[in-house]
Structure formats: structure tokens, C-alpha cells
């Protein structure tokens, strides 16, 4: 634990860290471009120059490891002059097209120039003309004029992902970041170079020109596209609210600082155009939108008819790993207490079974593409007491002993073994889903459900970490929460389903589900809480 002085402040810091990090401990900012805590140190940008006692020249703070008794000064005239000179160099050929740059407003080059820059340039010649708005991969646009050659993106691709698509080509003032010939920046984590890039050289093709940083607010939640449960910030436009982008949020226990391209760029796959927005009912003339009252009544009657004639065990419930813990809990209560059936399962895919969800690569991708399989297992969305599991229910539908089915957040027709003719053989099929899937088309009655970004709730990731899902945007009008739908159907069937608000509901789940064992929302916080699964 060396003790050093930074700008007269004496601090003791952990061994082996560099001067930038030590200054951070002391609450002093040293500007930097190439240094990034998760990447190899290269000291190319020279922005972090500081004066260190007994050293003849300015030192790069990122490549200088702290020593006992070091005396660092970050605000001397020499340092100030050096920063101004470095920034003037960076801006020599910079196009200054900030008004049309997606980074404008959240750009370290803008920020540092404002804080440490000279405020004017002495460069009078023509600026170098380089390649602009060049797509270098399925998600990334490259602008060579804006690049300051910090090589964060190069180091990320070669060291973190290991694919090494990027490199520095040519020398001196003509040096440029380029994709190696014959390749494209298409690894599963390519989106992270957008966050890493301290200028607007690498920007997103999806987010391109969709908002300015001052028009959006960042909301903390978690990604719902696989069982890794990456922590994310979702940007929502203030005026005419719309989710415009998803970025990773730091959580050392889950995703570090990264996230995959699926979660970042395909978060709204199908949601923009393919959404189910009102209840639908099947009649003699076909399928049509209907009012909530009609749909609730039809649903209640459909199940009540089968139950009164063939008994409770003629209906089954198929949940989903996409349900939050709260939804799974309410669905289980509905199946057991209202329908009275033992046939309840959610494991449509192999990876959703316990111990079958493996990592697909060395970083984040996981085999289970639903966010809450572990939670659904823990809450008990599984057959009990001799009830049928997924294959059993499929077989019962084929044999005709199962006459009614309730499907939540799953598109059965996209899964092996299920077919249109199989579903047509059912007497009654109720589907609750986000999108207009083929299963919704086949349903006797269908209800729209909110998106995971429109709900408060909890997901339990593959490692058993319980994390908060937060509502970042309101659901469209005409869409109701699963608990509300189930409660109304229960009432129409003459039973009562307790559907308290989120906080109360979670406390109830925590008290009754063994795995969660009294976990409070405060304990979960914004970083989640581990639980044995």
C-alpha cells in the first residue's frame, strides 16, 4: 500500500495501480483518451501527462505505476501547456462536425477541449480528407476524420473479444484505424467499441441520428434477451417517448462493462411493428380485435366449460422463462388456485432445464435465450404432484385428453413438436403475449402483454442473481399487466386472485419461495443479489 501525494493530497492506494487510478481515489481527474480500466495500457494519446517529482520530463499517468513517496502534480503550467498542445494536435484534422455527430454532447473530445483546450487553433492549411460514414460491420459506422487513434477499439477486439478485426494502418499523420482486408467488424461484441470510442469515429448504425444526448434520459434496468442478465442503461427520448438505444451498465458480478450485440441492437426485435395491441377473439367469421370485457369473459367461459365437463386436469398452463418472477408467481397461483390444474411447465427448450444452460463463449453469451428460467424454476412454474411436464402436455394434447391450454409469452408454433393441427385439436386455447405470433393467430382468445422494458419486476439470471427490472417506458394504451388479466379472468370465474402492487408482491414471493428467502428489494438494489439456485 504505497503512500503518495497528488496535488498536495496525501493518499494511500492499493499496490500496482497507475497514477490515473490513484488520482481517481483522491478525487482528482486526469484527462485521458487511450487509457481504459479494462484494456491494456498503451500510453499513446499523451493526454494524461503529469509532473512527477524527481522525473525530468512529464510522465504519462496511465503507464506510471504508483511508488512509495511519489509526488504528483496535475495542474502545473507545464501540464496545462502540454494538454493544450495535445488537444490542438488532435483537432488539427478533426472535422468539427459536432452538430451532425452522434457523439456530440457526450464526447470526451468536446469535454476535454472545453476544459483543457486552447480554445483556438493556429492551423491554417487544408484539413486532411479521409473516409467518412463508412459501414465497417453490420452495426458500426466508421468516420476516419474524427478518429484520434487512441486504439481502444483495436485493443478491445484483439484482447477482450479475441477476434482482432481492427488494426492501425499507415504511419504518421496518415495513420488510420481500418478493418483488416477481407474482414468486417462483426463479432458478437462489436457494439462495445461505440462506448469505448472517446470521439464520434465509431458510431451505431441503429442509433444513428435518432436522438441527441440532451433529448434522452438513461434509465437503469436489465437486458431481457438471455439468461446472462446484463445490466443496462436504456435511453428513452423525453419528448414523444421511445426507446432509442441500450447501453451496458457496470456490474462486475455480471457483465463488467460489456454487453453483446443482440442485447444492444436487437432489443426491440419485432416490437416496433409486430406488437399485439388489443385483445383478440376467434369467432365464426374469423379472428378480430375485441374489448377487454369480451375477451375476459370468453377466456373464463372457455376454461370453466372444460373444467365443469372434464375436470380440472383437462387444462394445462404453459408459462415462459420470459415471465418475471412476479408474473411466474401469479401464473402459478392462477394455475393451482383458480384453474386447479397440476399441469404447469415453462421448459420448452433444452437449455431451460436445470444445469443445461451453458456459456456459449468466453464472455457473456448463454445458451438459454430467456432471461428468467432460473427464476421460473425457483418460483415453481413446474409440474408438481404428478402433473404433466412439457412433453407430457404435448402428448396429452395429441391424445385429446388435454382440452384447454393457457400459453403465456411463448410462441408454441416456433418450437419443435408443436404444430397448427395440434393446436387446432384443442377445444380452447388462450394466449397472452407481446407479439402477434402464429400461436396468437391460432388462439381462441389472445391478450396483449407489456414488454419487459415496460414492467417493474425481477429476473433471476443463470447464476442465480436476482436483479431488478425497471419500467423505463409506459406500455401502450390498451395493454394490461399479466396479473391484472389473470385477476379479471379469475373474477369472471367466480374466484379471487390476489394481485398486489409490485413491492408488496415481491415481499410475498420472497417470504414464500425458499430460494429467495426473505430477500428485500433494498438488498437487490441496482446491482442485484446472489441467491443459491
Amino acid at each position: 500500500m504505497p503512500k503518495l501525494t497528488i496535488d498536495g493530497k496525501e493518499i494511500t492506494v492499493p499496490d500496482g495501480i497507475n497514477v490515473i487510478q490513484a488520482a481517481q481515489h483522491a478525487g482528482i481527474e486526469i484527462p485521458r483518451y487511450c487509457f481504459h480500466p479494462k484494456l491494456r495500457v498503451v500510453a499513446t494519446c499523451r493526454m494524461c501527462h503529469v509532473e512527477i517529482d524527481k522525473m525530468p520530463k512529464l510522465q504519462a499517468a496511465c503507464s506510471t505505476v504508483v511508488r512509495e513517496g511519489m509526488e504528483v502534480r496535475t495542474g502545473t503550467p507545464a501540464v496545462v501547456k502540454s494538454r493544450q498542445a495535445i488537444l490542438e494536435f488532435f483537432l488539427l484534422n478533426h472535422p468539427l462536425d459536432c452538430p451532425i455527430c452522434d457523439k456530440g454532447g457526450e464526447c470526451p473530445l468536446q469535454d476535454y477541449t472545453l476544459r483543457y483546450g486552447p480554445g483556438h487553433t493556429r492551423f491554417v492549411d487544408e484539413k486532411l480528407v479521409r473516409v467518412k460514414h463508412l459501414p465497417i460491420g453490420p452495426h458500426i459506422v466508421f468516420d476516419a476524420e474524427r478518429c484520434i487513434l487512441c486504439t481502444r477499439c483495436v485493443r478491445f477486439c484483439s484482447d477482450v473479444v479475441g477476434t482482432g478485426e481492427l488494426g492501425v494502418f499507415n504511419r504518421g499523420v496518415h495513420a488510420e484505424i481500418r478493418v483488416h482486408p477481407g474482414r468486417e467488424l462483426s463479432n458478437h461484441y462489436s457494439g462495445n467499441v461505440i462506448d469505448l470510442c472517446p470521439v464520434g469515429a465509431l458510431t451505431s448504425r441503429e442509433y444513428r441520428f435518432r436522438a441527441r444526448p440532451w433529448d434522452i434520459r438513461k434509465m437503469e434496468t436489465i437486458c431481457g434477451l438471455c439468461s446472462a442478465g446484463c445490466n443496462v442503461n436504456v435511453s428513452v427520448r423525453n419528448v414523444r417517448p421511445e426507446v432509442v438505444r441500450v447501453e451496458p451498465r457496470e456490474n462486475e458480478q455480471v457483465n463488467g462493462l460489456w454487453m453483446c450485440d443482440t442485447g444492444r441492437f436487437e432489443f426491440d426485435r419485432g416490437v416496433r411493428e409486430g406488437r399485439l395491441l388489443s385483445p383478440r377473439i376467434k369467432s365464426q367469421t374469423g379472428r378480430a380485435s375485441c374489448s377487454w370485457e369480451e375477451a375476459v369473459l370468453a377466456c373464463a367461459q372457455g376454461f370453466a366449460q372444460i373444467i365443469s365437463r372434464d375436470g380440472c386436469q383437462a387444462v394445462g398452463v404453459i408459462g415462459s422463462g420470459r415471465c418475471t418472477n412476479e408474473e411466474a408467481y401469479l401464473l402459478k397461483k392462477f394455475a393451482h388456485d383458480v384453474l386447479g390444474t397440476k399441469h404447469l411447465d415453462f421448459r420448452l427448450r433444452e437449455a431451460q432445464h436445470e444445469g443445461r444452460d451453458f456459456k456459449e463463449d468466453h464472455l457473456l453469451l448463454r445458451g438459454d435465450k430467456t432471461p428468467n428460467s432460473a427464476g421460473a424454476r425457483a418460483v415453481g412454474l413446474v409440474p408438481t404432484d404428478g402433473g404433466l411436464d412439457m412433453s407430457g402436455m404435448q402428448e396429452a394434447v395429441r391424445k385429446g385428453t388435454m382440452k384447454g391450454l393457457l400459453v403465456v409469452r411463448e410462441d408454441l408454433l416456433a418450437e419443435p413438436g408443436w404444430s397448427k393441427s395440434l393446436l387446432d385439436g384443442l377445444e380452447f386455447l388462450a394466449v397472452l403475449d407481446l407479439l402477434q405470433t402464429p400461436t396468437v393467430e391460432a388462439a381462441s382468445v389472445a391478450f396483449p402483454l407489456p414488454w419487459h422494458l415496460e414492467m417493474d419486476g425481477t429476473f433471476t439470471n443463470a447464476n442465480g442473481r436476482v436483479q431488478r427490472l425497471r419500467r423505463v417506458i409506459n406500455p401502450p394504451s390498451g395493454v394490461r399487466f399479466l396479473g391484472d388479466v389473470l385477476q379479471e379472468v379469475s373474477r369472471a370465474m367466480g374466484k379471487e386472485l390476489d394481485n398486489p402492487p409490485f413491492v408488496e408482491l415481491w415481499n410475498k414471493i420472497a417470504a414464500s419461495v425458499d430460494a429467495y428467502n426473505g430477500l428485500t428489494l433494498d438488498q437487490i438494489g441496482d446491482q442485484g443479489a446472489p441467491r443459491p439456485i
Binding site: 472535422p95 468539427l96 462536425d97 452538430p99 451532425i100 456530440g104 480528407v129 467518412k132 460514414h133 444513428r208 441520428f209 435518432r210 441527441r212 440532451w214 433529448d215 419528448v239 414523444r240
Partner: protein, 164 residues
Amino acid sequence: MIVELIQGFSLTLRRLFSRPITVQYPEQKRPSVPRARGLHRLERHENGLERCIGCGLCAAVCPAQCIYLEAAENTEEQRYSPGERYCKIYEINEFRCIFCGYCEEVCPVDAIILGPQMEFSMDNPKNFIYDKERLLVALESKGKLPAVPEADSRSSGLVTSSVS
């Protein structure tokens, strides 16, 4: 005090016999001053392309928050403005506008101008939300846009000299 009273009323008396200076608006109109700030308009380049690049600075600076815009990307086939970015939706709520002129001042490409037009009363409040079509000055020659010079697809739309 009497003296002051006489001095004051003498002016009143003199004016009583001079010609009135009231302007009979709207029959008579006074000429507009050069820097009058009236109804907005969105300018074009000489070659017919829109000046606006959809940067959103006007919406950001607007103290009345009456500007809403959405940007999009020019394509090879469909080019609206020089450079990469153009303004897809541009709306000004003239009811809310206080005609401070900040939008004009902040615009990096001199796209938005507050013109001399002061008379735009309407009977439907919805008409006060001016969209891009109504704000944009009409093309001088009706019909197709002129061929786009190579410089336009390269420039950012910010440097005026590269366009004209």
C-alpha cells in the same frame, strides 16, 4: 408647480392642432424593420438542397420548447441536404414561440430564419403547429432537384463554401 403644469399642457395644446400620427392598421401598414423577428422559415442552398441538417441545436436552445425535430440519414437515392444528416420532421409550435430568435442565432448552417411575416392569425389552433413543408421556402423552379455535386455527399453540410 404652476409653471410645470403650463409647460406640460402647452405640449398637449400644441398636439391638439397637429395632424394625428395613428396608423390605420390593417388598412395602412408600416414598413417592416430589417431585423424584425416574425414567422420562421427554413432556408435552402442555391442548388435547392435544404440547409437544415437536423442537428437539433434550435430545439435545445429554445426557451419556450416549441421546436420538435427528428433527424435521419441521406441516402444515395434520396438526398435532402448536403452531408450525412437531414431533418426528417421539423415542427414549430408558433403559439408557444416567443420570437426570441435564439434558434436563428444558434443554427450552425443558417437554416432557420425569422422572417418579416407577422400576420398569421388562424381560426384553427392546430394550424399553428408549422411542419417542415410549411416552413421550408419553396423551390424557385418547381420540379426535380438539380443534380447533386460530389462535394455534397462528402461534406458535413456545415461548410457553406463547399456547397455553393
